[in-house]
Amino acid sequence: MFRILVRGLLLMLLTGAVNAAPVFVFTAIPDQDETQLKLRFQKIADYLQEELQTEVRFVPVKSYAATITAFRNNQVQLAWFGGLSGVKARELVPGSIALAQGIEDPEFKSFFIANSSTGLMPADSLPESVRDLTFTFGSKGSTSGRLMPEYYLRETFGESPNDVFSRVGFSGNHSRTIALVESGAYQLGALNYKVWEAAVADGNVDTSKVQVIWETPTYPDYQWTLRGDMDAVYGEGFSDRVQQALLKMTDPELLRSFPRSGFIPASNDDFEPVRKVAKAVGLLD
């Protein structure tokens, strides 16, 4: 009697585990104000759930590293990464693939912004007069807010940012960078050009107090990355279906929240330049 009960229980547990397709979880690097991110990705979750016919959940995290770790730990299966975080994540999870990127992402760039008290004006290169000012990056793990600005600073001055500026900080995200340079907490900052343009368009920044003084050359940035073992879990062809769903996202409201004008296919090799720069700067081994 007892044995039958135990067997029955075991069987129930087993079938339960097999039948219920695990929830498909995705996350994103917290590169902007959280309210905006939540709005954006809740819409995406609803959209993907509709398209993929499986339960989809968005999990917000507090740092770039936490995004990579959750992806690596298979606690999320899909992520909207930046260039650097995507390269790191794919290195840590063999078989994972870059599925899609924004139309703007192959030619992304960073803006250097300055508080008006510095008197700096837009120029074709970073002027020598930025020396010994205070400067803030975005997050430590950001491509457009850390890696690329640092790379171009090193290229321009031949020194590390710590030696160029009197103080170097990490604001945490691109929205904070704008706020800190606008308030004068830092005199200079570097950030994602898309976030800047969106903030200006929405009237969230006082352009009499802070303005763009230089833009970097272009580089590949954001992309959707999926773990490699998804077909085995969610059924044959699942990865393709995810990719298709992302590519055929045309709802202007969804796209505007990124903000991107659409999504195009991406491959791991597209981000090779980012990997090389990260190695050169010492952010990758």
Binding site: V25, D33, E34, T35, V59, V61, K62, S63, Y64, A65, A66, I68, T69, A70, R72, N73, N74, Q75, V76, K88, L92, N115, S117, T134, S139, K140, G141, R167, G169, F170, G172, N173, S175, R176, A179, S183, G184, A185, Y186, L283, D285
Partner: protein, 495 residues
Amino acid sequence: MRFTKAMAIPTYRWPRGVRTGLWFLLIALCCVPFADLEVSSLDPWTDLGRLLQGFISPQLMEPTLVIEALLATLAFAFAGVALAVVCGFLLALAFHHPLMRGFCALMRSVHELFWALIFLQFFGLHPLTGLLAIAVPYSGIFARMFAEILDQVPKQPGYALPARSGYLSALFYTRLPLAWPHLVSYASYRLECGIRSSAILGFVGLPTLGYYLESSFSQGYYPEVAALLILFYLLVATKKLWLRRWTLPVFIIGSPFFMGEGMPIIWGNVWRFFSQDIVPSPLRGSDPTWQSFADWSSNILLEQALPGIWNTLILSQIALAVTGIFALCLFPLISRHCFSAAGRMPGHILLVIARSTPEYLLAYILLQLLGPSMLPAVIALAIHNGALIGYLTGRNSNEIQLRLSAPERRVDRYCYELLPRTYPAFLSFMLYRWEVIMRETAILGILGIQTIGFFVDSAIQEIRFDVALLLIVIAAMMNIMVDMIARRIQQNVSR
């Protein structure tokens, strides 16, 4: 020669305790030139004004979210502290063993936020991360305190036991009943600390109050920040009302249900963390050489550990001195020898608010207002710890009976009666707090001040857990050393 000798006046030597205090003050003053104490924000007053305005018109964000966050904050605190009480008590029974002592010292020398960052790497955002982040360091703290309390229990009742009574009988029939009230009161004090720790864990992503505080703050939604802070103060201040003997089991049993669901644990990740991630990267390859390992470690030591240790020391010594000054200025506010019962009320409120605000949160707020330098950190550490020590010293001063000849004027009474008589207690609180301040200083690096926590955070952001762990161990060693020095000084002073 003989002449001068005969004329020599007997020199006055300051009491040992006073000299110790002055030495600490001198060290702090020597640290000041090396510290970065600049106010770098152009206009700190506007932001401060906006924050205060927020307090005048607080605005609650979505109530269900707030209630969930409040419950999660309590849940992690209760479950974590309860688990730590049990583990700490068991560890306390074996505390006389040097190995066990070292083990407990290691557990408590690592800050709960560092523990959380470690557990996050393999448990992910699972309730277990928050639970253990509180339970592990608190177990170490409980082990030491419980062992000390059990040791101080009078030995006489034990002699009355029958000759062949076992260890457990002696424990349960003689030591435990005598120690019980002290154990309970200490555990209750720790629960309050647990609520603070739990709130702070939100800053790294757990669903407690800190999570929403951080996001509202970083977006400049000050009315929401104010509402959350007010709620937090109310929660701590009303503890006596909702925490009763009969509600305690309800809270502890109920807590696992309010920690949020998080993400499932995958045990392979745990194994990978211990077998690969924390192994120094040069030793991970197929043919590790000592040369590469030596390069790796010397590089970390020179580039990260040394600057981190230096800044941590500088900042914590200055903070310690300012804390002491704050405490000495604050304690008369709640001393019955200085103010009437009604007059002490504002002081009490001020001290409760200041000491129940976690220093991490204070530093975060001040950093936003004053800009990034050591100054906000010093102020934050001094406000929180100064209020705590001021409270303890004030309570101590209430226990002393004034001499009949004690001065009437309040200032004289403070200088010539209260200060000298409470000073020994004050100094021992300070010495005890030294290690705590050091530990907090290290953690404030996560906010961007370049103490050792800054480098730990950077290593974690770069997914270099081997580096992060090495730096955390170095921070732990610093704390253990400071703890040992503090105890040595304490013994010297009270000799």
